[in-house]
């Protein structure tokens, strides 16, 4: 674990990791590997309430708080989508809700994946970001 666990620091670490790959295939493989380590949502929560609208594959993300910090779990039936969810969770998990609401997630542009994703999948990624932030905002207000 890095000593600095801020959202920006974690994002930078992911950017550095993706920079090790000079071809898109390697980046995909790495993304798929990341998906395998996703903190998995309990099947009981795979309901419409936790489904992300806007993705063409099924993807669920659940937000909870623990000691004032957010805990995200998720899953998807498509592995690339699951990798993208894992990427976001890695950056946003165990953060104060306010930090997630305010997070600048420009790192998604810097990992060289966006240009390889179709616009529908990019829309799905944006939907994931929006809904994770919306859940953080709700938990922050609660």
């Amino acid at each position: 674990m890095p000593t600095d666990s801020s959202i920006d620091a974690r994002a930078q670490q992911i950017v550095d990791e993706f920079a090790l790959f000079d071809d898109w295939m390697g980046r995909y493989e790495y993304l798929i590997e990341m998906g395998k380590d996703i903190p998995r949502i309990d099947d009981a929560y795979k309901t419409d309430a936790h489904k992300i609208n806007g993705c063409q594959s099924n993807v669920w993300v659940r937000a909870d708080t623990h000691d004032g910090r957010l805990r995200f779990t998720g899953d998807s039936d498509a592995m690339i989508t699951k990798g993208l969810a894992a990427l976001l969770i890695r950056v946003l998990d165990d953060q104060p809700p306010e930090a997630v609401v305010q997070a600048d997630l420009n790192f998604l542009d810097d990992i060289g994946m966006r240009e390889h994703l179709s616009s529908t999948r990019n829309n799905g990624l944006q939907a994931m970001v929006r809904q994770m932030k919306a859940r953080a905002a709700r938990l922050s207000a609660a």
Binding site: W24, M25, I32, Q56, D77, S118
Partner: protein, 415 residues
């Protein structure tokens, strides 16, 4: 499955491909495009692109009203386009060809005019389990006002229409049979002539959704005797936003107008409006003049070729691709009806269709993944979707090879 026979050597696919500028490009800067999403939309030949350019550069004007030279030219070109489309589908007269925005609008038009004026509470509409949403939702919209039942004819295990079930679905309350000529998801070619004959024996009209047939099979609506035949321009090498509804003259004459406004009227006063005859009765407002003319250029492009040879070449590529994929471990074909055209739908063991589609895309191979706007069919098959490769006359066996090689990469990555 036996190796498919080689393509008819008289068909010069390289010469055909050269006429489609979009096919020559590279995607992601460095990868030659393999375009296998033709069931969604086809690429356009230079003849169509040029025709649109000429219209806008030299002929652009509104139709049917102007007395000036350009308006007369545009009117002539627009009505010539109708004649060309009538010839393309074997319609008995140009007046039976209504320009619409496409198949979807054509079916909605029939529902909202023919359906609304002739269906009664208790009537039944017979559809098939392979229906595109465009041939489901218009009838459901009508159910808000008329107590209609939709009867769905099931498919065989191979994805063919169950003709026994079809015969049993017809009843004295059947007001219409509506079915696709060719399934956009399974590629099944339906025996529409048999369907029309069986329905007509009981005086039941038939609407055929020809969206997937127009680019792949010679059409003869007069011989088919269908009451309505709908298709889209962009799926047959023409522009988007234009399509055709063919209707038998007696139906079109009896059907009330669909939308109100210029071009569909005869005389208007604040007390009373009289309507133009079909087909103009159904073409309110300024029509899509340029694209109707562009669509006629596409139809003419097809008629300038040996359409039987185009179809034979496509069937060869489909058979070759089917052969290659059916031998692959981990591939399951979805839809193996005895009569098929253009479409190869499949799923991979343990690989989600979207994952496969994403990687194929990065390899320059454009396929469609998902439900293909046939959600009820996917529910019946118990699939989240399929990967669909759909071919047109410009595709080659080499394209099928690239697809197979792409699937090697997909299966390596997700295996």
């Amino acid at each position: 499955m036996a190796q498919a026979p080689p393509a008819d050597v008289s068909f010069d696919v390289a010469a055909v491909r050269r006429q489609f500028p979009a096919l020559a490009q590279e995607v992601y800067d460095d990868t030659p495009l393999v375009y296998l999403d033709n069931a969604a939309t086809t690429q356009k030949p230079q003849a169509v692109i040029d025709r649109l350019q000429t219209f806008y550069a030299e002929e652009n004007s509104n139709v049917h009203r102007g007395v000036h030279r350009l308006s007369q030219q545009a009117t002539d070109a627009y009505e010539d386009a109708r004649r060309t489309l009538a010839a393309f589908i074997g319609a008995p007269s140009p007046e039976t060809v209504v320009f619409t925005r496409g198949t979807t609008e054509s079916i909605n038009l029939v529902a909202q005019t023919f359906g609304r004026s002739t269906f009664q509470d208790g009537d039944e509409i017979v559809l098939t389990a392979m229906e595109h949403h465009a041939n489901i939702v218009p009838w459901q919209l009508l159910q808000r006002d008329i107590d209609l039942t939709l009867r769905v004819v099931e498919l065989t295990d191979r994805g063919a229409l169950d003709m026994q079930a079809f015969a049993e679905a017809l009843s004295p309350r059947t007001a219409l049979v509506a079915l696709p000529h060719i399934s956009n998801t399974l590629g099944t070619v339906n025996p529409v002539a048999d369907v029309v004959e069986a329905a007509h024996a009981r005086d039941i009209p038939v609407l055929v959704d020809g969206a997937q047939a127009a680019p792949h099979r010679p059409l003869d609506v007069a011989a088919l005797d269908a009451d309505f035949y709908a298709f889209s321009g962009h799926k047959m090498f023409g522009p988007t936003g234009i399509g055709v509804l063919y209707g038998k003259a007696e139906h079109l004459a009896a059907m009330p107008p669909y939308q109100g406004g210029g071009d569909m009227i005869d005389t208007v006063s604040f007390e009373r409006t009289t309507f133009a005859e079909a087909p103009h009765k159904f073409e309110a407002g300024t029509p899509n003049i340029a694209d109707a003319i562009g669509l006629a250029a596409a139809a003419q492009w097809m008629m300038d070729h040996d359409r039987a040879a185009l179809a034979a070449h496509e069937d060869d590529v489909l058979a070759y691709a089917t052969d290659r994929l059916s031998q692959r471990p981990g591939v399951r074909l979805v839809g193996t009806a005895p009569e098929k055209a253009s479409v190869l739908s499949f799923v991979l063991d343990d690989v989600h269709p979207y994952d496969a589609g994403t990687v194929l895309d990065r390899l320059g191979i454009a396929v469609r993944t998902g439900q293909h706007c046939t959600e009820p069919l996917m529910d019946r098959l118990g699939l989240p979707g399929t990967i669909r490769a759909s071919f047109a006359c410009y595709n080659t066996r080499a394209d099928a090879d690239r697809l197979a090689e792409g699937l090697d990469r997909v299966q390596q990555l997700f295996g």
